[in-house]
């Protein structure tokens, strides 16, 4: 698809009003496309355009979808303006520079950007680095060869997971939100909620099992 033919059009909106975010629209050959944030495949194509051709128009659309979410995520974790704006700029610059590392078979754009934002906030809020396995480590034990199994395309996973999360028992969903959106380990959550550590661990495990089953069921 020839990317140069689309133009991004910003319909007039109050930039301070988050509910107006959905007014972003894309035009291609004069036709309106659905909101890119609703379609992970479009997000993936935009990212690929950035990776392969350094397409700034595609990147502008990605920015408009992603920046407010990165901002929302960081503020839920306690970041305050103006630090938030600097971090958002930082994360989006990393997205631009590392776009060629984005692999649509491995993760959705949302997941990939989440991991970049996560690592950056650990860097900045805690002044720690996040240790990670090195894919070139000679000690790395590689994935075993498996016959190709039916797997849900990563683009669809987000929607399935969001629905599955909405369907979790409230105590499990609440834990998940705390785990991802508060900078607290599960043992800190146990201490805070006065629940036994074992209860927290088993609720998190049950939530993950349910979510994994949902993905496998849809494959």
């Amino acid at each position: 698809m020839d990317r140069s033919c689309y133009s991004w059009q910003n319909t007039p909106r109050d930039r301070c009003d988050p509910s107006q975010q959905n007014a972003i629209s894309m035009q291609i050959h004069g036709q309106n496309l659905p909101n890119p944030s609703d379609d992970p495949k479009i997000m993936s194509e935009l990212m690929t355009a950035v990776a392969e051709k350094q397409d700034k128009q595609a990147f502008a659309v990605l920015f408009d979808v992603l920046a407010p979410r990165i901002s929302g995520y960081l503020m839920r974790l306690g970041a305050k303006p103006p630090a938030v704006d600097d971090l958002v700029q930082d994360v989006m610059l990393t997205v631009w520079r590392r776009a060629s590392q984005f692999n649509p078979d491995k993760a959705s754009v949302a997941t990939w950007v989440f991991t970049i934002a996560r690592n950056r906030r650990i860097d900045v809020f805690r002044r720690e680095s996040r240790p990670a396995p090195d894919p070139h480590d000679p000690s790395l034990i590689p994935e075993p060869e498996v016959t190709a199994e039916a797997k849900v395309a990563t683009a669809e996973q987000g929607k399935i997971l969001r629905e599955a999360i909405a369907g979790l028992p409230v105590e499990q969903a609440d834990l998940l939100h705390r785990a991802y959106f508060e900078d607290k380990s599960h043992s800190a959550i146990a201490a805070e909620t006065n629940l036994p550590l074992g209860t927290i661990k088993s609720r998190l495990r049950l939530a993950m099992v349910k979510l994994r089953n949902q993905l496998e069921y849809m494959a």
């Binding site: 979410r69 993760a107 994994r212």
Partner: protein
């Protein structure tokens, strides 16, 4: 060890640790242990990938908050600038008997193991890698072949990743890549395998409590 069919770990961090790792809320000493286990464990890597996908799904449900107008302008002005990419520092290979240490840990240690200044306690020697004001202690422990650790329990949680050799605890055997988790309900006396040194990365979130006869006399927590 068979290169075609490497031995996969059979003891893993639990879901709580992996979720915290995927979510980014895990303290660095524990994250280091998890990252090292992940080096040995493709199953847990896959689990963490799934947990990151959950993070991505949750990220999509966050209430968006608009950024100031100039963020986009400043960003676009910087896109064409060349990043000052410093070459990554070379990570030394740090060898143990069963193989090299995972790179994140090797980078932290930075030198061959026989150059480290261990503190010796009987049949075990250890070196403190990381000590946090609030909570965590991270240690590299080397246990002599066949040595028996004193009976002890834990006031908090102890995670032990085997880097070389192995040990038996009750009816379970732990080797390179395995993670043993011990908490207040365990009162144990692990025994190192007798065919070589047992090298462990241990992360504790509160001090050990010695429980054997001698141990009780030495236990700083008991008041007489």
């Amino acid at each position: 060890m068979n290169a075609v069919n490497p031995i996969l770990p059979t003891h893993h961090p639990d879901a709580g640790h992996l979720i915290d790792y995927a979510a980014g809320s895990l303290a660095e000493p524990v994250a280091m242990l998890v990252a090292c286990h992940l080096t040995f464990c493709p199953l847990c890597r896959e689990e963490v990938t799934r947990m990151e996908a959950v993070g991505g799904a949750l990220f999509e449900t966050v209430d968006p908050i608009a950024v100031s107008d100039d963020v986009k302008d400043k960003l676009f002005a910087s896109l064409d600038l060349d990043p000052e990419d410093l070459p990554a520092p070379a990570v030394p290979e740090v060898m143990a008997e069963d193989g090299p240490l995972p790179l994140p840990l090797a980078a932290m240690i930075g030198k061959p193991l026989d150059q480290l200044k261990y503190k010796k306690f009987g049949s075990m020697k250890e070196i403190l890698l990381d000590k946090r004001e609030d909570q965590y202690r991270s240690k590299l422990m080397s246990i002599d072949p066949g040595a028996v650790m004193a009976w002890h329990t834990h006031t908090g949680e102890e995670l032990s990743l085997v880097l070389s050799g192995g040990f038996t605890d009750g009816d379970q055997h732990f080797v390179r890549g395995d993670v043993a988790i011990a908490g207040p309900e365990e009162n144990h006396s692990p025994v190192a395998d007798d065919d070589g040194e047992c090298l462990i990365l241990a992360v504790l979130d509160a001090p050990l409590k010695l429980t054997g006869t001698f141990g009780r006399l030495l236990n700083p927590f008991l008041k007489y």
